[in-house]
Symmetry: D2
Subunit: 337 residues, 4 copies
């Protein structure tokens, strides 16, 4: 019988539950343990997914000799510390994004990961979305030509409550960071300069929290691709996730997914479904895919598809965007290095 | 300077106006005269389109030596007589469909046309529609393979008033006749057998008039293609005109045209325009094309694209459909010959 | 803790595997046993889904006191017998369609089910498809009006091999039977008359097997709805599953599902994905739903959503269609009663 | 009989021909004269559209007492002079965009127009496009809410030859100027700041001509709307003209128009038509509409729908964009005043 990867999951919240369930479905994995500071939550999840151990202490997962790899789904402010501990314990690591809001903290964590020679995959799940993967494949097969213009629309259905916003790191770090990663992934180049505009148009509370609820960002890449990103914290029609890649050979457009393909014709017009409501619905399959890829990378000794460096770079772009929006000027990435 | 075709138009009603205006736009035509039993209507139209003569007497158009060709847009019960007179006067003829409701009358008219050696084009304008022409081109380029299943949806926005229904010849002769012609055109074969179902589901008045407001028809062709036609005299969403051609190499679907391609996303869903309202909007370009083709055929001595035979055959299928719907049995076309 | 339904699965083939895996995902079920004449297949599947028992003898599942309900996925010719045995053993039953090709055999099985007071749900999974369910909801909310015209397109990607065709019961019993059930489900009425046309256009072998590879069927319902079904055993573009419901208040159209919503614009045009390849991909979610509904119906003492009567009626329509196609005449359903 | 507007057309090139033909179709206009420095071109066009006079000298049109209004379609460098002459002659003016590349020249011309009390309409035809007009109507009916994000995609099918580029005024003045006008029209506010990125990715010759072939522009409006424009001088798939307006109440998207709505399903996927090839096809109806509106405005003493001020403002934004792209910084519009 083939070797199974033995995994422990840290954090039994929304995203921890998703990962634990997806891990439990995989044939080449044994899900050993769940940890959460709320031990009841850990226990409940452990029972549901058939994990035999549960803890309130995260380190009990990490330092368990039975474990090969750790999946970190705890709050952001614990990520760097847990990465370091896991690396030191020789465990391969899957960690939710972002590693941290502080660039130095991220760099330190990545150093330890490197020193310890363990794998670290970041949770940029959108790279595994079926629609966006198709664009990536077209690019890799050179069906579209070099990137001239990339456009990413990413709009949430409903603005989060102020308590969430406060600890979110701001729109660029919390929301656009996914788009920054996607832009790098599709442009296949590094960002050279960032110009960002941030507005508060939906809820004045964002102003008080020194954050924005609406933003547009221009990214200039080293290969001359330009990427336009537009974000809104709220729409009237659900979760809006579209991508367009324009090259001289062709243009690929990833449109929204919808609950059904049934349309209705009546006296009002032709009506079709709104997009899938939010990221849990829209990106459910991508969460499955990213964990499957992580497991395969570890078991087969391959590079992980989203590295710690990818996480660092997206965070740096988010920093640059914030400076740009506040100072109303294009910010060169080299300013941040 | 190239020869111009000199045309007289008989009938200044809705369809007469459309043809007269389209003729007036052509560079290789001189529109000489308009006739209508209402001479004021003839005069008004003549002024608008720059025709120098107008009459109440149809024969004055036909027997005018200056005229090369006649466009017949008068009521159906005058068509056969005017075709015969025009043919005898040596004029080429464009005539609105149908030639007549009586098969013997049609045959007689076609005989005279043949004897006199003039051209006769029937007004099956949908053959010239941009969407349907594209399907025909795909067929001609053998991109779809032999026809296995053809589907035609043809639904009017609003049931006509009883006075119209009375003289219309019934749903198969008035409405489906266009679909019968289209089916022959796309199947590229002759109908062997007809099975029709007629219902009165919209307005009980149709029952009193011994007509149907809803119908579905199955046509079996000599080449084994089967065509399914569905008709309704009324919809809640405008004019529904769709065609599907399925062969083993591919399937082509002509969808509805719409006033705009603008869509709206809001809390109700994604809303797009209803189809173009009725045949005047939907088929406007096809009316232009059919007259242009008629003029070109006459000037260049080519066969007209829709012959008198085509008109006869569509009428025979309509007869068969009526027998089938009334007797609830498949009717072989040879029964009518 | 809530009561769990204890289930045994008979048949570990393609559809048995799907049902076993879907059952294993449910929280309110305990999957106890798997049987297959190939005991290795039963064992493998039992291990994968966590069932503790496996057998080669079907009766060992049925007569196990630990079992509440049986899911029958064995070959069609065993269905009636297993239904009867299960009913006599007091087990609720989920059975794949069809119950049998012989009407008398079906009736006998349904009688025993009735006498024994157990539940029987048939595997017409398409009723649980997200697109078609939406049409049903629109009908139930009276957003479309009474049914005037229903159209069902159901085309397979690839003709099956002759050995399959031989035992399939023919196109109407094997393929169209799903469409017959869907037509009844959407029309909300019983079929009065059937007119079917069958052709062999794809592979002459179907002729030798006295079967068709292309068929169109007209169903007349008691409530005057008319349904047009078109079937093909093969397309160039995958699995084509579309439904249209036209009433005076509106028209609903269920379009095909596709692997991605990404489109490509290049010099050839605008290209989007083909439909999902075949029924396993297209209807995967509906298989999950039907089992979930079966379990809920049993646990909560409710009527099952697809009854044995539904299976009988669809089979009767298939019989009528075959008579119609062979004798080229409309067949009244009362002829078969 | 109602008064007819007597019009002279200056310039018998591509756009002059379009306007002359559209004018000739209007019932409330008499097309009197055509002028072109190539008098044969003027004569040919005059014959085709039924104008009784033709000249090589533009002033003969302007100073003709019979004329009420002048339509200026001559090269850009003649626009300001002809506007001034026409205004002084008391003629109402329709002029193709832009008035001039020099802001002072434009201001001077507008002053004279004002002093002389004549009307001046600029040729921003896209405001009259059916798809974009629908967005404007939705905005006016407050169905979308205040503008948060506006996105305009405007890409040409084929890069123009160097000789054209040389005299075009550059991409912002030649191509984006339409988008700048559309942005102001939809945002219903004035631009405060411009950030532009220009690249040469298609043809290095643009570099030598100090122009760009690819550009993206961010416009910040006084009402906090942000507009993202992306331009390319060349695509592989024709003319790409799309607009998106996002407000908190809804999002409207104007998609491309296509020659047909026929789709083909085959082994390659689902293929539909490319967008209409270029602006002559795509915007043909809008050219008709703008002239019709001009005539109606003059005859009924109403404000023209696109003013000289609109022309000036779009030109100022183009200037700002050029500065921004060259100096890589956001440019405030007040810098240019």
């Amino acid at each position: 019988m083939d070797k199974k990867l033995k995994i422990g999951v840290i954090g039994a919240g929304r995203i921890g539950k998703i990962h634990a369930r997806n891990i439990a479905k995989l044939n080449n994995v044994e899900l050993i343990s769940i940890a959460d500071i709320n031990v009841e939550a850990a226990k409940d999840l452990a029972i549901k997914v058939g994990a035999k151990k549960y803890f309130s202490d995260f380190l009990k997962v990490i330092n368990d000799d039975e474990i090969d790899a750790v999946v970190i789904c705890s709050p952001t402010n614990t990520h760097a510390k847990l990465i370091i501990e896991s690396a030191k314990a020789g465990k391969d690591i899957f960690c939710e994004k972002p590693i941290d809001f502080d660039i130095e903290v991220i760099k330190k964590a990545l150093e330890v990961v490197k020193e310890c020679g363990v794998k670290l995959q970041l949770g940029f799940n959108r790279r595994f979305d079926h629609n966006f993967k198709k664009i990536k494949e077209l690019i890799q097969n050179d069906e579209l030509g070099k990137p001239h213009i990339i456009k990413i629309t990413s709009r949430d259905p409903k603005a989060p409550p102020p308590e969430y916003v406060k600890t979110s790191g701001g729109i660029f770090m919390d929301m656009t960071i996914h788009d920054f990663d996607m832009a790098r992934y599709l442009a296949n180049s590094e960002v050279e300069e960032v110009f960002a505009v941030g507005n508060v148009l939906i809820n004045p509370e964002f102003e008080e929290l020194h954050d924005f609820d609406t933003a547009v960002i221009t990214l200039k890449f080293k290969n001359n691709a330009v990427c336009l990103i537009d974000n809104s914290r709220e729409t009237s029609y659900g979760y809006d996730q579209r991508i367009e890649y324009f090259g001289i050979k062709g243009c690929a457009i990833a449109q929204n997914d919808k609950p059904t393909n049934t349309i209705i014709l009546n006296e009002k017009g032709v009506l079709s479904d709104k997009p899938l409501y939010f990221f849990l619905e829209r990106y459910m399959k991508s969460f499955e895919e990213e964990i499957k890829e992580f497991v395969n990378s570890v078991l087969n000794g391959k590079n992980v598809p989203v590295s710690g460096e990818d996480g660092l770079k997206a965070t740096l772009i988010a920093k640059a965007a914030l400076i740009s929006a506040r100072e109303n000027r294009p910010v060169k990435m080299e300013e941040l290095l």
